[in-house]
Each structure stands twice: as structure tokens, then as C-alpha cells.
Amino acid sequence: MASLEALAAAPLKRKVSRDDVTLGAGLGVLAAWLVVSVALPLWTLLSKSFQDRDGGFNGVANYVEYFANPSLSQSIWNSVWVSLLAAAITIVLAFVYAYGLTRSCMRGKSAFRMLALIPILAPSLLPAISFIYLFGNQGILKNWLFGLEIYGPLGIVLAEVFYCFPHAVMILVTALATADGRLYEAAEALGASRLRIFFTVTLPGIRYGAISAVFVVFTLVITDFGIPKVIGGKFNVLATDVYKQVIGQQNFEMGAVVGMVLLVPALLSFVADRLVQRRQVAQLTARAVPLEPKPDPLYDWGMFAFCAVVAGMLLGVIGMAGWASLIKFWPYNLSLTLDNYAFANADAAGWSSYFNSLQMAAAAAAFGTFIVFVGAYSVEKSRAFALARAVSQFLAMLPLAVPGLVLGLSYIFFFNDPRNPLVFLYGTLTILVINTVAHFYTVSHLTALTALKQIDPEFEAVSASLKVPILKTFWRVTVPVCLPSIIDVFIYLFVNAMTTVSAVIFLYSTDNKLAAVAVVNMEDNGNTSAAAAMAMMIVITSAAVKLLQAAVSTVVVRRTQAWRRR
């Protein structure tokens, strides 16, 4: 009887506390931010692709027109095969490299690990410029190609391999590092040969990581704009089509259609990656024993040689751009000069693009880190507002599936609409900041969430029992404990803001041109050496910030994190 009676009544609701209000406000800010910076622009893009030039609904007419135009639909095939080829080469190289890092006793592992990440510091434009200097019409190694043309698919694939290499290595190192040593001992005890162990234990163990790496690299290549723009020549791909349609021909509707097409592979790879990751987690049990590679001089030195060659090529590509940026008049006068760094000679904006980038990156890193942590904390800790939490979670994951180019395009449609009250942001540095934070939101959000999940879930309960407001505990405990992750997110946003070009290429105005955009412009105008110089400035800045992070981590973090030591 009692049970029935209790069932009939509405469940009790806890009285709203000050902490509930605080978390609700945080969640509200997050949801509002994600709706404005992600959901509404993408929605505008989607609807634009179904509209005619006057804004009337015309169904799938734009799509029909797109697929009927052979020069446009040809780009799909071009994009796909180039991306597949680049992904295949990248994965093979990255696999052997990662295998050397994790499964051999070669010397210099930590140096190789760092060298593999060097391409992350550069905008994707840089390898393209380097390959022009190496194999272009006036390239120093031009005859190595036996008459093949670097401008086109060949150049795109080479540059993309450089650009995607670190991403593939990171994923594969993680996959290879989570091996259970007991499986290898069992296989050896059963008398399996090295080759058989490789095919029956190693490969099955990393299959999810390998699949994930293929998808990530494929998506990076197909959505990259900088490389095909610089070195693609007359070879059309989806990413450059969007740019041509929108900037060249002012055909926004067709640009929206190409953007939607570009969204498909990215979305697919996003979904696949999620599925794969879910499975990978279950692979390693808590009782697994880490695999310790055994020394084997011949094999170890073989691995060393391979990694040295690959790392040498990575350095060579960066070095080529650096060297070219210091050459007086390529290829006729090879004496060194700093003239190319006098950017005013090559581009009206001069050095201001660089300082704009610094300002934009600092603002994006500061604002982004703030909203990311406050947002992740509100999502993680609030128990009420289930709908707002679910929506925020979804929208926070979405940017990972949206290529920068598509996001940038959607910002034009959304923020340049005179009916939008936020139209005043259009053409300002602020919109570049908003766009950059939104573009790189997912990884930052996941980093913050992971850090928050690692701390004791009862801190808030304890502070409530002690009548301490949750905001104070957030500031006094959560933030200091998460400081290393907060710094990681800050640096991640800063470096990406410095190097990204795909989204902001649509959004800059002449008053606030960014360094990476200046690289594109100067290269377009034939000032390749100045473009190389600006690209080098970006590399130097990113590298300096990374070094600064290392310094900060050892000095400041040591001082504030004394409690971590026993």
C-alpha cells in the first residue's frame, strides 16, 4: 500500500541552493556560447545550401547543379584519392616510427619523440612552400623528380604527409604503448616466431588505434586548405573549391553546398573514431603488465636509422623554408639576408599581420581556456538541467567533426547577416577569436573533462557540508589541482590560433590580417620568400611558446604543486 501511495506522489525535489544557481549559470553561459559559436552558424550554412541567390528555398537545386557540373564534382574524386594516398603513406611511416619509439631499445627515443611533433608548430602552408623550393620550377632537387610536376597531386601528397605525420604518430604511440606484456610472454613461451607474434598479437592489439589514425589523417588531408592552395596548381580539390566559389565568384550558395559535401567525410570519420575509441578502452585491463622491449643491437640500430632518416626529413622541410627565407634572390643569388623579413615590401599589412596573430592567439587562449574550464566544470558537476547538459555535451563535441573551412564559411553566413544583432562583430579581431576557440573547442573540452574526472568527485559534497560556496572550492582546489591541464589547453589553443588558416581565411579583414593569411597572400602574389619568412615566424613563435611552457611547467608548477610530492 505504502509503495503505491508513494508512487502516486510526485518525487521530491531538492530545494535550489546557491551552488545550484552557480552551476546553472555556468551551464547557461556554456550553452549560450556553444549555440552562438557552433550551432547557429552551422544551421545557417545548412539552410543556405538549400536557398537560391535571393534567399528563397529551392530544395536540392544547388546540389543538383553541383553534381551536374563535372569540373566541380571531379574535385570530390580528386580529394578522395589524394587523401587516401596521403593517409596510406603517413600511416606506414608513422607506424614504423611509433614502433621504434615504443618497441625498441634504440637511443634517443625522447629526442625522436619531440622531433616527430615539430610539424605541429608550423602552418600547413609551410611544407607546401618548402616543397616548392625543393622540387618546384626553380627547386634545388628538381631533377630528382625525373620530369614529374610538383604542382599538383604529388606536391599535395608530400606536403600532407609532413603535416599529418605527428597526428598519426601520437595515436599509434598510444596504441602501441598500451600493450599487455603477458600476451607476448605467453606467445613466446608457446614458441611463436617474431613474425607470427607480430601478426597475431601486435597488429590485433593496435587495430583500433590504426583505424583511428587512418580516419584522422584522411580527414585532416581532405579538409586542409593551405597545402592545395599553395602547391595544388590546377589540381582542384574540395577545400580550394569552397574558397574559389565564395571568395573568387561570390557564389555563396554553391560554397555552402561544397561545404556540406566536405562535412560528410569529416562527420563519418568522427563517428567512426568515437566507435573505435569506445572499444579501445576495454582492451587494457588494470592487471596488464607493460611490455618492456629487449635490447637487440641489429634491430635497434635499424630502427634508429629509420627514425633518423624520417626525423631528418622533417627537419629538412622546416630547414628548407628557414633557409629560403634568408636567401637574397632565389635561385640566382644565394647570399644570406634578412630582407625577406621586412614584410612591408611584400604585403601592405607588413609586420602588423604577425602582431595581429599574436594578439588573436593570446586572446583565444585566454578566453578559450576560461570558457572551456568553466563549461566543463558546470557540465561535470551539475546534477540538474539534464537537457542543457546534454545539449552542451553534444555541441562541445561537434567542432571536431567540422572542418575549419566549413566553420569559417558558416560564420560568414551567420555573422554577416544584417538581421543578426551580432553583425557588428563581423570583420573584427573578436570574431577571429570566437571562431578559433569554437574551431578547437572539442579537444580542449575533452582535456578539461578528463582532468576534472580524475579529481575526487566528493570535493563539492565536502565543501557543501562545510558551508563553503562551490565557487570558492573551484578557485581554491579545482583550479590549482587542474593547473597542468589548464596550461595544456592554453598552449594548445595558442599554437593552433597561430598556425590555423582554413577558418580565418574567410573572416579576416584588411585591418586585422593574420600571419597565416599573410603567408597565403604573399605566396599568391609571387613573394614566396616573404611567405616562407612569415611561416618561419609562426614556427619560431609556436616553438618559443612550447619551450616557455616547458620552462613554466618546471618552475612555476613545481612551486605551486609542491603537494604532488610525497
Binding site: 531538492r14 566528493e458 559534497a461 557540508s465 558551508k467 590549482p480
Partner: protein, 359 residues
């Protein structure tokens, strides 16, 4: 404990549902001022859910909770009056022991000197007077646990909640801390609720034990009552070792077990012929000083013995059928020269056997 018993916490018809799962079903009881209560039960029995409802961390689906005469049923934790210690202790790792203990005091805007004095007093109370400048990671598990208790007590709450506070510790430390927490609680006279799945912990520390299973209360009583007179077969089985012997009611306060007819006062009210489980603790099987007047004598032989250190657990085969587990002390073994295969007479004392109707 000298003060008059007054009800401090009243739990009235609590229900808690998670989706279709009922975690608490019609739970009601009261706790007196200054009492030490243990919620005891297997994992998933609802004991932690009940504690979190009392703390306001997860509000019950229906029902009423009163603390010191105040209805706190729907209040958020920050508006209730309790201190809490979690299994993980949830000490703030980046704050010193002193700052952890002072955490709740600072927000009350007490003076600096007053705070320092209170912190020193609390650290003294938990026996770690010099640990103030250390960080939690520099302390042992047992020390961290005591700091967590000090922090929970700092604001002088009316109620102390302990959520499995000892289960993360080594067995030896655990036994010592049981005693320390209990004596601290006695000295302060603070009403305390502790959740545990460890029956020994509950028996040694609690004034009263609330035994729970599947979201309902199986029995509430003093440790002695719970151990001696379990109200249900679940309690009999969960707390301590217990024989469950098959038998049947054979008349007024009599049960038949194998070939024997046993006096069993607790069988009163169960109709004749009904099958029952006869419960008896292994240590209650009597061997010494049996006379012709001793009731409930059974002839058995020792089928097997397992050495447990301070005693031996023996399997006894009844001559009329049935198997009884009995614990024999080392003294008894030596004095009577007990060995496997030996035949002997044992008695099952009537006041120690319980009959439950077989399900």
C-alpha cells in the same frame, strides 16, 4: 550519554527510486542524541543511498527526514547540519593539513587567532598535533583518515556521517582506528552514522546496528541483539558464522533435527509440521560438562576439521543424519584429544538455537 535520550534524527517512510530500481523501500527509524549507528549490509543494499539522503546529496523520492526537530527533507547539503568523511577522505590535495581542517572555519569569518586555536585543538583531538604544515600526500592512509575526521568536526556539526571510512586502510590500521573513532565519538557525544559492509566494524563500534538488504531494513538492534537474536535468516547469515540446519516443528517449542527432538523456545507460534531452518552459531555447540540433564544432546562423529589459528572449525555428522559445523577452541581440542573420526556427544543449547520457517 548521561543526558536524557531524545530523538535527534527521524527517518520517516523513505523511498528512493533510480528509474525502475527501488534503492530504498519504506525505510523508517529514529536515532537518539549521541548515538553511534551503523548501516550494515552487502553492496547495493541501500545503505549508502540512505546516508546520501540524510546528507542531502541525493534527495529521496519520497519520505521525510527530521533532524533536531527540523524538517530537512528537501534542503540542499549546504543548509543541513552535518560533517562527512568519505571512503576516499576527499582531502584537498593542494592544501596543507592546517588549511584542510580550517576550510570550513574560514568561511564562517571567525578571527584568525580563533581559527588557529580551533585547528590546533582538532589536530590534538585526532592525535596528529604536528601535522599542520604537511600536505595530505605526505601522510599515511590512517593519518589522512583522521585529518578527514578533524575537518568534518571543525565546524562542530550536530551529526557526523561516515561513509565506509575505514575500508581503504590496512587491516591492522583499521582495527586501531575503529577504537580511536569510537572513543572520540564517545568523548564528543556527537550523533554519528556510519555506513559499512564490514560486520566486525559494525559489531565493535555501533551502539545500534541497522541491517539492510535490498533497500529494506532487516533488523535494528544493539550489536548483541543482532548477533544473538537475528530477526531474519538474512541477518543470521550475514552477521557471523551460522549453521542452517534443516528441521521441522514437532509440537510446542520442539523441533526435529535428524533423529533428535530439540527444545527450541524460539519456535513458538510456528505450526506443527512446518519445515524450518534451525540456526545455531558454531561456537555455541557445547561439548564440556554435559550431564544427563543437559537438554538437546546429539551424538555425532567428527567428519573433518580445519585449523583457523585460535580455533578449529569441525564438521560434525549427526548419527540420525544432518551435518553441524562447530568451532572448538584449542584448549578444548587439547583437553579432550579431539581428532577426525572420533565420536562424541554435543549439546545444542535451547536458548541459543533459533528456528525460522523455511522459505
Amino acid at each position: 550519554m548521561s543526558q536524557a535520550k531524545t530523538t535527534y534524527l527521524r527517518i520517516d517512510r523513505l523511498f528512493k527510486r533510480f528509474g525502475s530500481f527501488e534503492a530504498l523501500k519504506d525505510v523508517s527509524f529514529t536515532i537518539d542524541n549521541g548515538e553511534f549507528i551503523c548501516f550494515l549490509g552487502p553492496s547495493g543494499c541501500g545503505k549508502t543511498t540512505l546516508l546520501r539522503a540524510i546528507a542531502g546529496l541525493d534527495v529521496q523520492t519520497s519520505g521525510r527526514i527530521e533532524q533536531a526537530g527540523r524538517d530537512i527533507s528537501v534542503l540542499p547539503p549546504s543548509e543541513r547540519d552535518f560533517g562527512i568523511v568519505f571512503q576516499s577522505y576527499a582531502l584537498f590535495p593542494n592544501l596543507t593539513v592546517r588549511d584542510n581542517v580550517a576550510y570550513g572555519l574560514v568561511s564562517r569569518r571567525a578571527g584568525r587567532a580563533a581559527i588557529e586555536q580551533r585547528v590546533a585543538e582538532l589536530l590534538q583531538l585526532v592525535g596528529l598535533p604536528d601535522s599542520g604544515p604537511k600536505y595530505p600526500a605526505q601522510l599515511s592512509g590512517g593519518q589522512q583518515q583522521r585529518i578527514a575526521v578533524a575537518r568534518a568536526l571543525a565546524t562542530s556539526p550536530g551529526l557526523l556521517l561516515l561513509d565506509e571510512p575505514l575500508s581503504a586502510l590496512d587491516a591492522r590500521v583499521r582495527v586501531r582506528l575503529r577504537y580511536e573513532i569510537k572513543s572520540l565519538q564517545r568523548r564528543l557525544g556527537i550523533t554519528t552514522v556510519m555506513v559499512t559492509h564490514d560486520q566486525e566494524e559494525a559489531l565493535t563500534m555501533a551502539d545500534r546496528i541497522v541491517v539492510m538488504n535490498h533497500g529494506v531494513i532487516e533488523q535494528i538492534g544493539t550489536p548483541m541483539e543482532i548477533y544473538r537474536r537475528p530477526a531474519t535468516p538474512f541477518v543470521a547469515d550475514f552477521v557471523g558464522a551460522m549453521n542452517f540446519l534443516d528441521g521441522a516443528i514437532a509440537g510446542d517449542r520442539k523441533v526435529r533435527f535428524g533423529g533428535a527432538l530439540l527444545d527450541c523456545p524460539s519456535a513458538e507460534g510456528i505450526p506443527a509440521g512446518a519445515p524450518v531452518k534451525i540456526c545455531l552459531r558454531p561456537e555455541d555447540v557445547a561439548v564440556r560438562n554435559l550431564g544427563s540433564g543437559t537438554p538437546n544432546r546429539v551424538s555425532v562423529s567428527i567428519a573433518d576439521m580445519v585449523f583457523y589459528g585460535s580455533f578449529c572449525r569441525a564438521s560434525l555428522k549427526g548419527e540420525g543424519g544432518g551435518e553441524i559445523t562447530a568451532d572448538f577452541s584449542n584448549n578444548l581440542m587439547r583437553d579432550l584429544g579431539l581428532a577426525v573420526g572420533q565420536r562424541l556427544e554435543v549439546a545444542l543449547p535451547p536458548d541459543r538455537i533459533l528456528a525460522f520457517r523455511a522459505a
